[in-house]
């Protein structure tokens, strides 16, 4: 293709772009409504986009999860390498879930459907969805290799000129636990792509657009320009940061992420040199995901409201040592890469806090994700399996307290206690906010919660317990204090040292103490009136007010003792 891009006036361009985004959004709605997987429906773990005939993304659905969305661009490039445009026909559907090509773990299946107007390929509808199951040792927390994590589908045609790839269908069906749901969700993805394809054809017919690629160029250029302008506002300089994780390698050493972030003109160079080598645990993050979350973090800080397309990532250059936890070699296990990769957000924010302290947030108590699974039998013999999600507190912002019990950077709903108790013979003794869980700071870290679950059934329940910040709490930023650390306790036992599976006999309780968010700025700079309000609300104890914030209250805790507060704060300053 060597024809020059068609020029549009800015309004036409904008209307066309908006229309393309609306097509992607409608595809996403179709997917969410059709999919059976609760991971797609309730946890929004999907990405949807429309691509032009050259394999470049024109527009993406707004709710797409950032990791999958970014990786989709790479998948499309690889798909077109394997199946050049000329080898595609109407009725073809392409599938892939290879973690190294895609978004870093096997449950994420990409489906790309080429769309034809007559004989002419005009573009692709593409979806990625996190499936309920993909075989293997279902979500094994001790997997050492990706072979244990289910079936790997290389880039293949699932349909060829409208004919189903019978072998592939049978292979998938035979390798997963709930084949009707997996195949149902694949159908949902194809339906969404098909819907998008129909809309693309209408789009080209109703507008003055000849080819989608005429739109892609300006879309990427405009986004890139805007991103570059945002980066150019930062002073040049290099910033280093290091983050110790509580997960350990085989020798018992804590894993480390090292970062060097350099701002140079209108570009950012990110290097993870010095990061720990890959481990025999299912937490390695393939390079695609590492880049995706690096770009996500920078975008959140510098330019949250622009679309997340190729233009966003073009001025950002990411490298990570091969064979490291951020760029593992095949066949590293990677099912729970989110528990590692979310730390990238923390370390990038830490580096950027030197340059744009007002645009980042202190570390949150909301990662790793706490997604608990329970299985067992009701007293009438009916088996059950259920999940329970809850959240800690987010990190404080430069000018705002951290958000109470709200997920970040993933986006999943919590579990309703009433629904849980209908679904399973479990009972929730309490679910309440924890006093003094938010890290102290000029802006306080987000408040966390404590949840106690009890097994009512005679048969013991099997509980797969996940969570973190058991040993390293969310630190503060720029003088802010750490949030409360997390803990999971079975009965009165000592807290578990790391995620594990346990048996939960009848009437046994498990106590989940979620981690609080880190504070921002010195707590001695916090407005005493806000400390008083926090005490009134029970978010901060009078003791903590005195010790951490240097705020003394009157005997009834009803007002600030101004003189005593001044004394406390002066003492601390000296």
């Amino acid at each position: 293709m060597n024809t020059a891009s068609k020029q549009f006036d800015p309004i036409t361009f904008q209307v066309l772009w908006s229309r393309a985004i609306s097509i992607a959004d409608e595809m996403a709605t179709t997917l969410v409504k059709t999919a059976f997987s609760t991971v797609v429906r309730d946890n929004h773990d999907y990405a949807v986009a429309v691509y032009d005939a050259e394999g470049d993304m024109v527009a993406q659905a707004n709710q797409s999860t950032p990791g999958q969305l970014f990786c989709m661009q790479r998948v499309m490039r690889d798909i077109l390498e394997q199946y050049p445009t000329k080898s595609l026909s109407p009725g073809d559907v392409i599938i892939a879930n290879d973690p190294w090509l895609g978004s870093g773990h096997t449950p994420d299946i990409f489906i790309a459907t080429p769309t034809f107007r007559g004989e002419e390929l005009i573009g692709f509808g593409v979806t990625c969805a996190h499936h309920t199951d993909i075989g293997g040792r279902m979500a094994a927390p001790d997997a050492r290799e990706v072979y244990e994590e289910g079936i790997i589908i290389p880039i293949s045609k699932l349909y060829d000129k409208g004919e189903p790839n019978d072998l592939l269908f049978r292979l998938i069906e035979r390798n997963v636990r709930v084949p009707e749901r997996i195949l149902g969700d694949l159908r949902a993805q194809m339906a969404a792509n098909h819907f998008g394809g129909e809309r693309l054809i209408e789009f080209l017919e109703e507008t003055e657009l000849d080819r989608l690629s005429d739109l892609t160029g300006p879309v990427v250029a405009q986004t890139e320009k805007s991103m570059r302008e945002a980066i150019a506002k930062l002073p040049d300089g290099a910033y280093e940061s290091s983050l110790e994780l509580e997960r350990e390698d085989a020798d018992g050493n804590r894993l480390v992420i090292k970062l060097r972030l350099e701002v140079r003109g209108d570009e950012i160079f990110v290097d993870y040199d010095g990061t720990s080598p890959q481990v025999d645990l299912p937490i390695n993050s393939v390079l695609n995901m590492t880049i995706a979350y690096t770009v996500f973090s920078i975008k959140c800080a510098l330019h949250p409201h622009i679309p997340n397309n190729k233009g966003t990532s073009l001025p950002i250059h990411v490298s990570a040592p091969e064979g490291s936890i951020l760029h593992p070699e095949f066949p590293a296990a990677c099912m729970f890469r989110s528990s590692l990769i979310f730390n990238v957000v923390q370390i990038i924010f830490d580096a950027l806090s030197n340059v744009v302290p007002e645009k980042v947030m202190a570390p949150s108590g909301t990662f790793p994700l706490w997604i608990e699974r329970f299985g067992g039998k009701c007293d009438d013999g009916t088996p059950y399996v259920c999940g329970f999600n809850g959240q800690g507190g987010q990190g404080a912002r430069y000018d705002k307290d951290g958000v109470t019990t709200t997920v970040f950077p993933a986006n999943v709903s919590s579990t309703s206690v009433e629904l849980l108790e209908v679904e399973a013979p479990l009972l929730c003794d309490r679910k309440e906010l924890i006093t003094d869980s938010g890290g102290p700071g000029r802006q306080r870290g987000g408040i966390a919660q404590e949840v106690v679950l009890r097994n009512l059934a005679k048969k013991p329940a099997v509980a797969s317990l996940s969570g973190g910040r058991f040993h390293i709490a969310a630190p503060g930023m720029h003088g802010g204090g750490t949030g409360k650390h997390g803990a999971i306790q079975v009965g009165d036992d000592d807290p578990i040292p790391q995620p594990k599976q346990v048996l939960m006999p009848q009437e046994t309780t498990i106590t989940f103490t979620y981690p609080g968010g880190g504070g921002y700025g010195s707590p001695f700079e916090r407005n005493p009136a806000h400390v008083l309000e926090d005490v009134r609300l029970g978010f901060v104890s009078p003791e903590r007010a005195r010790e951490a914030y240097g705020v003394a209250l009157t005997d009834d805790n009803g007002s600030v003792d101004k003189d005593a507060t001044a004394r406390l704060r002066n003492q601390a300053a000296e």
């Binding site: 409608e26 209408e202 805007s226 709903s413 919590s414 919660q449 009134r536 609300l537």
Partner: protein, 700 residues
């Protein structure tokens, strides 16, 4: 049919204005009146309006059959945090569910996001010892002594209203009722709202949120309704006073006093009710109500004359147009989509260098630049004026002079120059972008509902609706639009055609495999018995029709589908209905999965004849020529230039008249723009029907 009492009066209290519509049921004619809202006592504005209407209809109240009333009082009290001193009583260990919300973000990238402040803060969220199992059995008895003490303390703290929200109370209201009894006995002045009455449905956060909103506005609403009744009685009206509910039914004041949360979105329902009625009269299957006013556009897809009902509504959004940023209110609400796009929406250049229109609005003051009230930011109305769609000398029927010079300068400065555009191109850009914004939002809404726009008709109402309807409808692929007479005030008529109707629900989790028609019949009968007195209070002796509905899902699914259930249906029939509904919404269904009923509902509606509505207009003749006012230059979207448009006076267009685009049809409350290719016919009721056609085929 002639009515002994010919008048019906609708009145809607808004934030700024209180709107009235007085309909003469015998002639079908109506009159509209506006008066300023009186926030210190909103019933005063109602009385003022009645006095004003008596100037033209002397003694009309004595001949008025009923007064139908909607109000933004409830929603404004929530938004402005001006409700009663309210407390929550929760099961021990669960007082924080209101504050923890769903623990999910509404914006993926915005780390500066904030969430609504809980209506009731922590010290006023109290707990009592008690516990139910999920099937309603008691695990732990209520500690009544401790509960008494809680009420005493709350009363001493000046609490006026209490929301009682216990876990699993939808399955067994016993403990909530016991608490209510204690309150009534020890503190009779305290208003009490039980979650098992307000919203007896599963999911503690949503039920608590809804019950809390109810408690928060209950004392306010009780005082207000009492004053309103007194004022009307003093003017000699003591017959049927009805309250408009968010679900599109009207009900007796006593019900509104008990459950004010049900009135929370009563205002916007008017447009949908009116458009639904229009659709039924015209025999249309699918109607897209398009109501574009000063600050927002509202739309609703009405199929077979039935408005969509949602019970997953949200108010008081921190980000007005972002789902998930507000306070959930799980009462039946007409599913209307609202977009930040109105005549007052401000145009600017955003951080991407793109033209952005809305959601910020210039409101009525300072308003658009053209109003000459010191507004400096260009708005949609300013663009419409420069495009020739609005007549500067006939705005609001000539009641307002518009300033063209300032408008041109403002659009050039704020939009034209940054984009390198002429004034006209910039004005067109604003018009086009706002239309695309509305079309995009509505495409999404229709896709979510599983609707299809191919055979739909747009009903354009609101001041700006008919100005934008042509381009809006084309973007949606809709081929026909209707503008009724009085389009600018048409939504006010909706109140007058609303039936007495009420929906009652209860969570009853049942596997379809383990139930039968008799058991379901008993459960539905219980709900019908509960709804009957509510209807009787509004319409004594009327014949009541019941519709059975169930929220159904596949076992283990997060969200349920609302399915209409025939009487005496057995589980097989219900399963078939569910699968049909599921397929029509989501495209596919599964035959091998277990199906579960989550919540049962019934809608009780009084069977009544529809009130006819028609504005007077010139009948017969069929010739458009008499209505021709002249010609003016206006923008032709397909040619991208100003071309002559014939201008017609709507009130002089007789039934049967035909004309073709490009044309403009003006009336006092709105202006219809018909693009090239459009073919217009005035139907027998005086409505303007436009077949949009294809401008491209007209040639230059």
């Amino acid at each position: 049919m002639t009515f002994d009492l010919p008048f019906r009066l609708g009145c809607d209290i808004g934030g700024t204005f209180t709107d009235f519509v007085l309909l003469n049921q015998n002639t079908g004619r109506f009159e509209v009146h506006k008066t300023l809202t009186t926030p210190h006592d909103p019933s005063e504005a109602v009385e003022n309006g009645v006095i004003a209407l008596q100037q033209t209809h002397n003694g009309f109240l004595a001949e008025t059959e009923n007064v139908i009333h909607g109000t933004t009082l409830v929603i404004n009290a929530v938004i402005e945090r001006k409700g009663a001193a309210t407390a929550i009583i929760a099961t021990k260990g669960f007082r924080d569910s209101l504050e923890m919300r769903r623990e999910i973000r509404y914006d993926i990238y915005d780390i500066g996001a904030v969430y609504p402040t809980p209506l009731v803060d922590r010290p006023f969220r109290r707990e009592v010892s008690e516990r139910l199992y999920s099937d309603g059995r008691i695990r732990q008895e209520l500690d009544t002594d401790a509960a008494r003490q809680v009420f005493d303390e709350l009363a001493a703290q000046g609490v006026e209203s209490v929301a009682i929200c216990l876990l699993h109370a939808y399955a067994n209201p016993e403990h909530e009722r016991a608490l209510e009894a204690i309150a009534t006995e020890t503190h009779p002045e305290m208003a009490v709202s039980l979650s098992s009455d307000v919203m007896p449905e599963i999911k503690e956060f949503e039920r608590t949120s809804t019950t809390t909103v109810n408690a928060y506005v209950k004392p306010l609403m009780a005082r207000y309704v009492k004053r309103l009744e007194e004022r009307l009685a003093a003017r000699g009206f003591d017959r049927g006073l009805f309250m408009m509910l968010s679900g599109g039914g009207i009900i007796a004041p006593e019900t509104a006093r008990q459950f004010p949360v049900r009135m929370i979105e009563s205002g916007p329902v008017g447009g949908a009710l009116a458009a639904a009625q229009l659709g039924r009269q015209a025999g249309l299957r699918d109607v897209v109500m398009f109501d574009m006013g000063g600050t927002t556009a509202k739309s609703c897809l009405i199929r077979d004359g039935v408005m969509p009902i949602s019970t997953e509504y949200e108010v008081d959004r921190v980000h007005r147009f972002k789902k998930g940023s507000g306070t959930p209110v799980g009462v039946p609400t007409v599913d209307i989509i609202e977009i930040g796009a109105g005549g007052g929406s401000i145009a600017s250049i955003n951080e991407m260098g793109l033209l952005q229109v809305g959601p910020l609005s210039a409101g009525a003051d300072p308003g658009p630049i053209c109003y000459g009230l010191s507004g400096t930011k260009p708005t949609v109305t300013d663009a419409d004026l420069l495009l020739g769609y609005l007549d500067p000398s006939y705005f609001l029927g000539g009641k307002m002079d518009l300033d063209l010079g300032e408008t041109e300068a403002g659009i050039a400065r704020e939009i034209g120059e940054p984009l390198g555009f002429s004034v006209l191109q910039a004005a067109w850009g604003i018009h086009e972008v706002v239309n695309e914004n509305m079309a995009a939002a509505i495409r999404m809404y229709v896709t979510e509902m599983g609707g299809d726009l191919n055979n739909a008709t747009v009903v354009a109402i609101g001041g700006a609706g008919p100005v934008h309807a042509d381009s809006f409808a084309r973007k949606l692929g809709v081929k026909r639009l209707i503008m009724p007479r009085g389009a600018g005030v048409y939504s006010a008529l909706g109140f007058l055609v609303a039936p007495v109707s009420y929906e009652i629900s209860r969570t009853r989790i049942l596997s379809l495999n383990d139930t039968d028609a008799a058991r379901l019949g008993d459960l539905f009968k219980e709900l019908e018995d509960a709804a009957t007195p509510v209807i009787e209070a509004a319409a004594p002796g009327a014949s009541i029709g019941f519709n059975r509905i169930a929220d159904i899902c596949y076992l283990g699914q997060g969200s349920a589908v609302r399915v209409a259930i025939p009487d005496n249906a057995d589980p097989e029939v219900i399963a078939a209905r569910f699968l049909d509904e599921y397929r029509s919404r989501y495209g596919a269904s599964y035959d091998d999965l277990d199906i579960q009923i989550v919540t049962l509902r019934i809608t009780a509606t009084v069977q009544q004849e529809q009130t006819a509505i028609a504005l007077p207009f010139t009948e017969g003749g069929g010739d458009a020529a008499a209505a021709l006012k002249g010609e003016r230059m206006a923008f032709a979207p397909d040619l991208r230039e100003m071309v002559p448009h014939k201008v017609y006076a709507m009130d002089k267009l007789p039934a049967g008249a035909r004309l073709t685009g490009p044309a403009i049809v003006e009336e006092e409350s709105s202006t219809l723009v018909v693009a090239r290719g459009g073919r217009v016919e005035v139907d027998a009721r005086g409505w303007i029907v436009v077949e949009l056609g294809d401008a491209q085929k007209e040639g230059p």
